[in-house]
């Protein structure tokens, strides 16, 4: 019977393949346009996706899953400044471009010059504190060679340290706390990932490795400073702590398969789920032991959850936004990117102008236009996509400036 099943499977796949759609005649030119556009976009996305956290960034407006979550009070699709229909041709007529972000959220938006005296082209990485941004410069593509502190009030830039990493090894995962900047490097040893952690005083100095009693096996995926310790999770699953001054790496009890979402909340599965599971469906508060399981209904796809809320898709219906317990569900604009920053922000394509995007606050229903330029003659444009979790910084370049948004300043 084994042979039978294999034969039937061959026939089934062969017949089913005939139901595939046909390629449009313009496919190759579309592909080339996208390919060229991506060449300039990669850097931008790296910056926009690296919406990183400050350990003390617990100032996020929504509280823990068991607390008093901020409900989605407004149906975003009914907000006057958002898309009022799915992106069909008729939907375009109803669209009113929102006011620019700096008018909607003036307390949360800065524009800083893309060229700063004495430093090369840079990428904003995290907020060190409410007024200070961590900037990273590159020696080669995505390979950090120095980090700087930028004072948002005075506009001064100060080098914190140079960074040197071996070929193929990159600094990533910046976080700040206890007066230090902490980051990781991931190397391959005998075919497996090994992570090292580094730190430097915010005031400046030379980076020092955080000595661990044994090598940290696995690739770090999220770092956060908790008191005098570094807490981290690895891509393979598992949450650990290590003293900032070095010492033994301790597994966090009950979090053997977990990933840090927003400390003290850790969860499974992590943000990336190859088998279509909902990300962060199960959460554990490692300080109180409280747990939370997000409601996920049959047929839902690409469900991504934060500490209090989830977004997801259903075939044939608008995407949704709701609390983890399944209540207060709302439809989302049709062309939203799948991220959910700080449990409440998404970016959405504007039908007009072409190539435009706005950011929407799903809690208040307010939206602000990101003022992105339409694709230029070569089809090049910028896309801003938010991650999941405790994102605080959103940044992207426009002409000769970097736009910087502090999501914690939007209430």
């Amino acid at each position: 019977m084994n042979d039978d099943l294999e034969d039937v499977l061959r026939r089934t796949l062969g017949h089913a393949s005939q139901r595939a759609p046909q390629a449009p005649s313009t496919l190759s030119s579309q592909v080339m346009t996208h390919s060229l556009r991506r060449r300039t976009r990669v850097q931008t996305l790296v910056a926009a996706l690296a919406v990183a956290v400050v350990a003390s960034g617990a100032v996020v407006a929504v509280r823990g899953a068991g607390g008093d979550p901020a409900p989605p009070v407004v149906n975003p699709t009914q907000a006057p400044s958002s898309v009022t229909a799915t992106p069909s041709p008729s939907g375009k007529q109803a669209f009113v471009t929102p006011e620019p972000i700096e008018k909607v959220w003036p307390q949360a938006v800065w524009k800083i010059p893309a060229k700063l005296p004495g430093i090369r082209k840079y990428q904003p990485r995290i907020f060190i504190d409410d007024r200070t941004l961590l900037l990273e410069t590159w020696g080669s593509f995505e390979k950090a060679d120095a980090i700087y502190a930028y004072d948002l009030d005075g506009g001064q830039v100060r080098k914190i340290t140079d960074i040197r990493t071996p070929k193929g090894v990159f600094a990533s995962g910046y976080t700040a706390g206890a007066g230090r900047i902490v980051w990781q490097t991931i190397d391959e040893v005998d075919g497996g990932r090994v992570t090292e952690f580094w730190s430097v005083p915010i005031a400046g100095g030379r980076p020092t490795v955080i000595n661990t009693a044994a090598p940290v096996k696995g690739g770090g995926d999220k770092l956060t400073v908790v008191g005098d310790k570094l807490a981290f999770s690895v891509i393979e699953g598992g949450v650990f702590t290590v003293p900032l001054g070095g010492g033994t790496v301790e597994p966090v009890a009950g979090a053997e398969r977990h990933h840090i979402l927003r400390w003290p909340w850790v969860g499974t599965p992590g943000e990336y789920t190859p088998n279509k599971e909902a990300s962060f469906e199960d959460l554990l508060n490692v300080e109180t032991g409280e747990t939370s399981k997000a409601v996920v209904r049959p047929g839902e796809q690409n469900v991504r959850c934060g500490v209090t809320t989830c977004v997801g898709e259903r075939r044939g219906s608008p995407s949704f936004y709701r609390l983890r317990d399944g209540s207060q569900e709302r439809d989302l604009p049709g062309s939203a990117f799948p991220g959910l920053a700080a449990d409440r922000f998404q970016t959405v394509f504007s039908p007009v102008p072409r190539g435009g995007q706005y950011m929407i606050d799903l809690v208040t229903g307010e939206s602000g236009d990101l003022s992105l330029s339409p694709p230029d003659a070569k089809g090049q444009s910028i896309v801003v996509q938010l991650g999941v979790g405790d994102s605080r910084l959103v940044s992207y370049p426009i002409k000769d400036e970097h736009v910087v948004i502090d999501l914690t300043k939007i209430r």
Partner: protein, 166 residues
């Protein structure tokens, strides 16, 4: 190389076959189109290198398989640039057994499905599958065996009832 007419020729000649492959990999038209578009964008970016070293079609098929089992989907940056035509041919498959099997494939984890598609649609050997997906032969065999077992118990097949096969 940006305007290499050979790239346009390749897309014109092979895109439909790639879409069919994407369709059996993913199980639906939208993902098939998405996978094809993304793999072709990556092929375009690597076009001169790929043409020097290997066959563009196998490269593209490898990218599609790896994308399908990877975390790419949640990180994807762009939406499809073309509208899928109305009135797709969603005819019922020729037999109930095939229809049942197609639905059962939907329930498989991505890696198991990809291994089965590479083995029974692409007719690759386990060694070739191991190269395409970048996993060991042992893993290929175990995914295939798990996948076939699940299909067998999911379809109303004579052997499914007692689970005697394998």
């Amino acid at each position: 190389m940006d305007d290499d007419p050979r790239f346009a020729d390749f897309v014109a000649e092979r895109a439909d076959a790639l879409l069919r492959y994407g369709y059996v990999l993913s199980g639906n038209s939208h993902d098939a189109a998405d996978l094809t578009q993304e793999a072709l964008i990556r092929l375009h970016r690597a076009w001169s290198r790929v043409r020097r070293k290997q066959d563009p079609e196998s490269y593209t098929r490898m990218i599609m398989a790896r994308l399908h089992i990877s975390t790419w989907r949640l990180r994807r940056r762009e939406r499809l640039t073309w509208d899928l035509p109305e009135g797709l041919h969603l005819d019922v498959l020729p037999s109930e057994v095939e229809q049942g099997l197609w639905q059962a494939l939907e329930g498989l984890p991505r890696k198991q499905r990809a291994v089965l598609v590479l083995r029974y649609y692409e007719q690759l050997t386990d060694a070739e599958i191991s190269g395409v997906l970048g996993i060991s032969r042992g893993t290929v065999r175990s995914h295939a065996s798990l996948g076939l077992n699940k299909l067998r118990s999911a379809v109303s097949h004579p052997t499914a009832a007692n689970g005697s096969a394998l």
